[in-house]
């Protein structure tokens, strides 16, 4: 039983590894997009300018309410009708990034809100402009607070990158489906894939935990 699993694993692993590369690449690309866009939404949200903060809230809540797969579908299949044609990888990274930007926005906003009000006053009182105040004083502290849920999102995003299979990105889960369809050893392959995702996420969680502690030690 376990022997067959190992020999099967040995056979499929090289093929799966190609999927892993794509999974990692698309996760990183989407992470960058989600982080910067999420930060942008969060900054709009706390800008203190009514229309902007409303717009940001409505937009992010809407994105949160829509399944990722639908976002991906629009990115890949509907956007071309508007003249923007992205390849599968681009559409996948952008779609996943936009979908997660809404969760990231919540996380950052909560982090920013959690920074002590006295910090704003101290920074203002030094004559800082709003932009400088955010950059030098609020955001560094907000990031620290936001780190654990950010890590949660990161792991979720890694796994949700599998949804890009729908728009023909050949990542890990797609690769595994192909093998499963060809060999019908679903149990083996699912187990293998679970292990691979686990192996990818554990260092992430570890890294986030470690970063959290190292930032925490200064507080």
């Amino acid at each position: 039983m376990f022997d067959t699993f190992l020999s099967d694993a040995g056979e499929y692993l090289p093929v799966l590894m190609q999927g892993v590369l794509t999974t990692v690449a698309i996760t990183i690309a989407a992470l960058l997009i989600a982080t910067f866009l999420g930060l942008f939404w969060a900054l709009l949200r706390v800008s203190g300018i009514r229309p902007l903060s409303h717009a940001s809230r409505i937009l992010t809540n809407t994105i949160r309410g829509v399944p990722i797969i639908v976002v991906l579908f629009y990115m890949y299949f509907v956007l071309p009708e508007l003249g923007v044609s992205l390849n599968a990888f681009q559409a996948g990274a952008l779609g996943l990034g936009i979908a997660y930007s809404s969760y990231m926005a919540e996380v950052f906003r909560a982090g920013i809100d959690a920074v002590d009000a006295g910090q704003y006053e101290a920074a203002q009182s030094l004559g800082m402009s709003r932009a400088l105040l955010m950059r030098r004083v609020i955001l560094p502290q907000a990031f620290k607070i936001a780190l654990p849920p950010y890590g949660n999102n990161l792991v979720m995003m890694l796994k949700d990158s599998s949804q890009t299979a729908v728009i023909t990105v050949v990542e890990l889960s797609m690769q595994s489906k192909l093998i499963a369809a060809a060999t019908f050893k679903s149990a083996t392959i699912f187990t293998l894939v679970a292990l691979i995702y686990l192996v990818m996420s554990l260092p992430m969680m570890y890294g986030v935990g470690k970063l959290e502690r190292s930032l925490g030690s200064r507080k």
Partner: protein, 229 residues
Amino acid sequence: QQPIIKVGATPTAVPFNFLDVKTNALEGVMVDVARAVSKELGVTPEISGIPFATLIPSLQTKKIDMISSAFAKTPARAQAVDFSEIVLTYKEALLVPINDTTAYRNYDDLKGKIVGVQMGTSYVEPLKAVQGFKELKMYDTMSDLVRDIALRRVDAGFGDGPVVAYQVRTSASKQVRLVDTYQSQLATNIALAVRKGDTEMLAKVNAAVAKIKQNGVLADILKKWGVPQ
């Protein structure tokens, strides 16, 4: 009270097994076949939709007793399930954008092109083996593939003949063309499948399949759904 037989089908393949949107029930060639075979066996069919990826696990873990789906008989699959005699055979068809009028005949004509195929069909492995395509892209559903052909992100797409024919015939997509010059080379043999080692059941199913072939019931079903023999 007749005993019940649980039948699984993947309801994403018109006209073999799909959802009738009006009645919210499964319909199609293989659904009718399952009913006809059940009648011969003297059992009541209970047909449920099973995603393609979990058809075999469902059979193995006794969630279902028989697969009656557009599920091709292949040697690899025969290691996991027992297939009945072949119920029907069809071949692959080729789709291209409507304004591509080239008279493609075979793989060689598609060298350097981006080619799409639906996941789960029996063409995936053979097409992977072909050298010379610019790229081979895999789609979850035929409709996504058709959409990408229409968007010209894929130069040509392979699908099951009857599925493609039905789609081109019924769908609103006027932007793709069925290449009639294409010479199909991969026969897909559709058969029913039962649990590995259940020889008694297999024998009964084979007898029933032979019966509906012989008494014209199968032919009627195929005609009803417009599938050429």
